[in-house]
């Protein structure tokens, strides 16, 4: 065991070429577009592209590639592309439109995103993201997304965490739903026209690499269990993040890491797996049967005051506790930002309050978010008008009326900034294999700002990938590619069949969900909001043991030849185990605190994250070597030309 925990050799890797164009940051994307290779419209139909996933990134990429004339196959494990979890985003989407005239600009969105990510993202990628953000809003409005409007009919904006301007476009509390439906409708049009073929209820189970190039994928039909091969000139993974490794998260139940992990096992480097975002305002776990956690929009902190009782033995109801026996800890610790401190900082403060024994609620696992003062100041009607949707949702879930009893909240796993390593063209270290949206690592550094996930998914799918993929495909024109009769496809199919047969035949005593829960507890305790060398080493001791038990004692009932949700889950949990080990190793090796990665050893005297730019201003990209405990760590140095590295302060 000990040999895996010594720092791995740092190797300069020829595969980690970011391909950022030379020149000033504001001119890089234009320079790229001016020099990239193009595919003639009549030749586009000669290329087949596979898109896996139908969320914002996948649907927008598949639709756009279909419009351009490529042959596109899109795969989703859902019954319909419209179900993807982008749909659950509440708050909004950022864009540097400066419609409010409040001093916003592409540069400012770029700067806020780099700073929000604690200076751990690539300048070139982030600047491009800010540039195309304005095109996204134009595109989505043209498609009929019913964004909120002013009385004059122009678009409305709201402000969001980590920014001093109002640049967030929104559609009630359902911006993700409306954007996804917009992209889905555009995709549906291409499906209806026959330009895109849809494979629903079909899950990726392997990626196939032949002669160093991604040649296609192997899938499993969830209805019949049939395993099949699909060859293509290029494959795009838009398969989301891995937040469900924690078991309890705000992700949907089916969100998983399998596609990204299989790509990793076939040679794609996995970058910064320890960068996970814990969202501060979710409804705390109510009992042991809880299956997921529900987010309450961050906007509630505009009027809610966060507090816990000063006395750990407090047993009175909230309204019986006098003012001087309450600790409004965010207001006390961060007087200038108060209850609006950024996500990672608020999350850690809540954890410390609960860990000190002052948690509230039946399980003492939450903190109060109290609207009594706001109702007293503004009146009930005003507060109700602002938050009624959220209050009603809270009451549906908890049975408590938050206008009478303070809301209880606690942080939960929400988003993963890490993911497949990609270059400026969104290509992984496997030529011909791309990753877009949350599945890649590229734009959010160590912490994502609110309303930026929707922006990145659509930027990648609409305005980046459709350009960059042509630069690769142009070189394949009129060259034969391996078909599904190639023996490597057959071998990958057999490996997949064997894997699913093994889950069924293990016939142990524990369900996939049981193992997932146990895995999640370890990751949450040791690789959650606060990490230590000791805890991570402990996790790296416990995880292989539990994984070994999983392989020995798993029980999957039913068979592999028909619809079997228990079997699907087993495959996903298997991959989460391996990813979990890599996450802990990455967290251990990153001996600094930055953004969502907080190592208790690296904090200043006020308890704030302490970066180490001298040693860690780099991307950690992990190479598969047959076992996550022995993966090799490579580094891509981050170069800051436009922005000076600075301490990220919100005091």
């Amino acid at each position: 065991m000990t040999d895996t925990l010594t720092p791995p050799a740092v190797a300069a890797d020829p595969k980690l070429q970011s391909k950022i164009p030379a020149g000033p940051v504001a001119e890089k994307w234009d320079a790229y577009k001016g020099s990239m290779k193009l595919v003639n419209p009549n030749n586009k139909r000669k290329f087949r592209i596979i898109v896996v996933g139908s969320g914002l990134a996948g649907a927008s990429a598949a639709a756009t590639l279909g419009e351009l004339g490529y042959q596109v196959d899109v795969f989703t494990f859902h019954d319909s592309p419209r179900r993807a979890h982008s749909i659950a985003a509440q708050g909004g989407i950022n864009a540097a439109k400066n419609y409010k005239g409040d001093g916003d600009s592409i540069y400012r969105l770029f700067y806020d995103t780099i700073k929000g990510g604690d200076f751990r993202a690539r300048e070139g990628n982030v600047y491009r993201l800010a540039q195309v953000s304005v095109d996204i809003i134009d595109q989505m409005v043209a498609q009929g997304v019913p964004f909120a409007r002013e009385y004059g009919g122009l678009l409305d904006n709201r402000s969001f965490g980590g920014a001093q301007v109002s640049r967030t476009f929104y559609a009630r509390g359902q911006t993700g739903q409306q954007l996804l439906l917009g992209a889905y409708q555009q995709l549906a049009r291409q499906i209806g026209l026959g330009n895109v073929r849809l494979f629903n209820r079909t899950e990726l189970v392997d990626t196939v690499v032949i002669d160093g190039r991604c040649a296609g994928i192997v899938t499993r039909d969830l209805m019949t269990g049939e395993v099949a091969s699909h060859a293509a000139h290029a494959v795009v993974l838009c398969t989301g993040g891995y937040g469900n490794v924690f078991f309890l998260s705000t992700n949907a139940m089916a969100c998983n890491v399998t596609a990204a992990w299989r790509a990793h096992q076939r040679g794609a480097y996995f970058a910064n797996p320890c960068y996970t975002q814990i969202h501060p305002t979710c409804i705390p776990q109510a009992d042991d049967t809880q299956s997921k956690l529900t987010l309450m929009s961050e906007s509630l902190r505009n009027d809610g005051r966060v507090w816990v009782p000063k006395n750990p033995d407090e047993s009175r109801a909230a309204d019986q506790i006098p003012e001087d026996e309450r600790d409004y800890y965010l207001e006390r610790l961060y007087p200038s930002f108060g209850n609006l401190a950024p996500r990672d900082i608020s999350s850690r403060a809540a954890k410390r309050a609960v860990d000190s024994g002052r948690g509230v609620g039946p399980l003492k696992n939450g903190v109060y978010l109290d609207f009594a003062a706001a109702i007293g100041r503004l009146g009930f009607d005003t507060v109700w008008e602002r938050y009624s949707n959220l209050f009603e949702m809270y009451e549906r879930i908890t049975g408590e009326d938050p206008t009478k009893v303070p809301m209880r909240i606690y942080p939960a796993s929400h988003y993963t900034m890490g993911g497949l390593w990609v270059d400026y063209e969104l290509m992984t270290t496997i030529p011909g294999l791309y990753a877009a949206g949350e599945a890649n690592f590229s734009d959010h550094g160590a912490n994502r700002l609110g309303a930026s996930a929707l922006m990145q998914g659509l930027a990648d799918g609409y305005f980046v990938l459709p350009y960059t993929i042509g630069n690769y495909l142009a070189g394949l024109l009129n060259k034969p590619i391996p078909g599904t009769d190639h023996p490597d496809f057959a071998a990958a199919e057999q490996a997949a069949r064997d894997r699913f047969a093994r889950y069924v035949s293990t016939k142990g005593s524990r369900s996939p969900d049981w193992f997932h829960r146990e895995l999640g507890k370890i990751i949450w305790d040791y690789c959650g909001m606060e990490r230590t060398e000791e805890g991570l080493n402990k996790a790296l001791g416990e995880l292989p043991a539990l994984y070994e038990e999983f392989q020995r004692d798993l029980r999957v009932t039913g068979d592999g030849a028909s619809l079997n949700q228990t079997l699907e889950k087993a495959g996903r949990v298997d991959d989460f185990f391996q990813l979990g080990m890599l996450m802990c190793r990455d967290a251990l090796e990153r001996r600094e605190s930055c953004g969502g990665h907080f190592r208790a050893e690296y904090q200043d005297e006020e308890g704030e994250a302490q970066r180490d730019d001298e040693h860690f201003a780099h991307v950690a990209a992990w190479e598969w070597t047959g076992d996550p405990m022995h993966a090799t760590r490579h580094q891509e140095e981050l170069e800051f030309e436009a922005i000076h590295l600075a301490k990220r302060s919100y005091k």
């Binding site: 019954d79 179900r83 095109d135 498609q143 009385y151 555009q186 305005f463 369900s511 028909s562």
Partner: protein, 258 residues
């Protein structure tokens, strides 16, 4: 403080595949926290079934926060169960009492064939959208977003329609198995907006004609609106019918000119 429900009797529809006749099976379950959601109660039952070496009950679900529209279930004969404006995934066990008998069935509609147990195939909804539930606007050609002002009441009404989550409760609740509420919500969302005017009449005709291939006819029962977890109004059906009539005239005139 949570308390636990005892002696719940669940009568659940089990069906091994599309061609199996299917039947109800009864399960007794105890110690269910009233903090648990309905689907978490089914999770507990499934864990028990797996422990007993039996196949878990198949049901569709995903986001569990009432927005993806994947979950379904007829609970005691009501689509998404007894709580108004609530999808099954946000229904909680505090709605029930110890000793209750709860009947759980899949959506029942000819257009939604049963796949297994409680899971049905709602692909017909996708076919309706593919027929015209979009605005043709290829990526890249859009003008600046503020060049198209949309009056706030229009944007709000379009948003009211666009809130549809595509779950199919409207079809399951309808005695005719009609999909008029789903189809009209999408048509209204796009036909209300200025961006949607160019295709207004071709859209309504294509979508309604596709709907008619799969689903039954609307006879104004209004069950759909009552069952809709998002409270979509049947006024949109009236709007769809009006646009459809106009479309038939306009498209006939267009034909006559050719």
């Amino acid at each position: 403080m949570s308390h636990h429900l005892q002696n719940l009797v669940l009568k659940i529809w089990r069906q091994t595949g599309p061609n199996d006749a299917g039947h109800f099976e009864s399960y007794r379950i105890d110690d269910i926290s009233d903090e648990a959601s309905f689907l978490e109660m089914l999770d507990v039952l499934n864990e028990r079934l797996i422990a007993d070496g039996k196949e878990a009950i198949v049901f569709d679900h995903d986001c569990r926060e009432g927005i993806c529209g994947t979950c379904s279930l007829m609970i005691n004969g009501q689509a998404h169960g007894p709580q108004k404006g609530t999808a099954t995934c946000q229904l909680h066990m505090r709605t029930f009492r110890s000793g209750d008998e709860i009947v759980v069935e899949p959506w029942r509609a000819t257009a939604f064939p049963i796949i297994k147990d409680l899971m049905v195939d709602r692909a017909a909804f996708d076919r309706i959208i593919e027929a015209g539930g979009f605005i043709t606007a290829d990526t890249g050609g859009a003008p600046d977003a503020n060049l198209i002002p949309v009056p706030k009441p229009v944007a709000d009404a379009a948003m009211d329609a666009a809130e549809c989550i595509g779950c199919g409760a409207c079809v399951a609740a309808c005695p005719n198995g009609a999909a008029n509420l789903f189809t009209s919500a999408k048509i209204a969302h796009l036909n209300l907006l200025p961006q949607g005017q160019a295709e207004r009449y071709s859209r309504v005709e294509a979508m309604v004609d596709t709907m008619d291939q799969y689903f039954g006819s609307c006879t104004n029962h209004g069950e759909c609106e009552a069952a809709c977890p998002k409270g979509i109004s049947i006024d949109f059906i009236a709007m769809m019918n009006q646009d459809y009539r106009k479309a038939k005239f306009k498209n006939r005139k267009a034909l006559a000119r050719t």
